[in-house]
Amino acid sequence: MRLALFLAAVALAAPVLADSNLPPAYWSNRQLPDARQEARAEALMQEIRCLVCQGQSIADSDAELAGDMRDLVRRRVAAGQSPAEVRNWLIQRYGSWISYRPTSDPAAWPLWLAPLVLLAAGAVLIRRRISTRRSA
């Protein structure tokens, strides 16, 4: 029984092996000394998708790669780049997928237009009902 428990514990610990032994990058879990820069970096990190835990932002993820990306974002913001520049730099490499902010790419147009189309369809429907009732 003990042996089985031990083996189960070892088996469950396998994900630990999927990480390196190096310490986290310097700025990955450290705030920038300039509060305004930190606020800008933080806002951007909330909107950048983690490449490992897809569905989490790099601000939320504990993955090593997310830590390295936070370090990258803070370094670039501290060096004077605007959050938009950093975001575009990442989009150039990973596509608009990496950013949580909805784009205005043609691919997203149906999404933007859908509420307007549905509202218009609703208005037409209501109008018809009212006019048929009046005529009745």
Binding site: S20, N21, L22, L51, G95
Partner: protein
């Protein structure tokens, strides 16, 4: 109510079901593909990490012949089996370079001693910065870079023995 309108909900439901079954049968590709295919390798310069083996810089990649750049790590489990396939590629005349992500000299040296060493150059990328610069999202990944330093192909995941003919064809096409 006309017949078409009466059956509309049923048709919508059927369409939804077909969509769901189709997506279950062919899952979405969750790999993140680099947008740099067809683009020059971003400028970088990585320090050596293994004694006697040079580091790797983007300038080394525009060497006039195609090269395979392998993003790997000694702590990466699938990389262990991949190295054997890379050795096989090296034996058939392919130049293989390595980018060691978040690695330590000792761990990497024993990894190479244990599993074999197909690499001509290995650059150390302790903060994944070149990995991110290449649009790579994990280890292992491999990039085929042509003689002018243009990225021609990104391979996500380990290069399996069954991938060898495809990789050789891509390298040939990059000449």
């Amino acid at each position: 109510m006309s017949r078409a309108v009466r059956f509309a909900p049923l048709i919508v439901l059927a369409a939804l079901l077909v969509g769901l079954v189709w997506r279950l049968a062919t899952p979405v590709d969750t790999n993140v593909h680099s947008r740099l295919e067809g683009q020059p390798v971003p400028a970088f310069s990585l320090a050596p990490i293994v004694p006697g083996k040079p580091g790797l810089a983007s300038a080394d990649l525009a060497s006039g012949r195609p090269r395979l750049v392998n993003v790997f790590a000694s702590w990466c489990v699938p990389c262990v089996t991949e190295v054997g396939v890379l050795k096989q590629l090296q034996a058939s005349g392919v130049t293989v370079d390595g980018i060691a992500v978040r690695d330590e000299p000792q761990a990497l040296a024993s990894f190479l001693a244990r599993n074999g060493d197909p690499y001509e150059r290995i650059g150390s990328d302790p903060q994944s910065s070149v990995q991110i610069d290449l649009g790579s999202s994990g280890v292992p990944e491999s990039f085929i870079v042509d003689g002018r330093g243009i990225i021609r192909y990104q391979h996500i995941g380990p290069v399996e023995p069954s991938d060898v003919p495809m990789i050789l064809a891509k390298l040939d096409a990059a000449k």
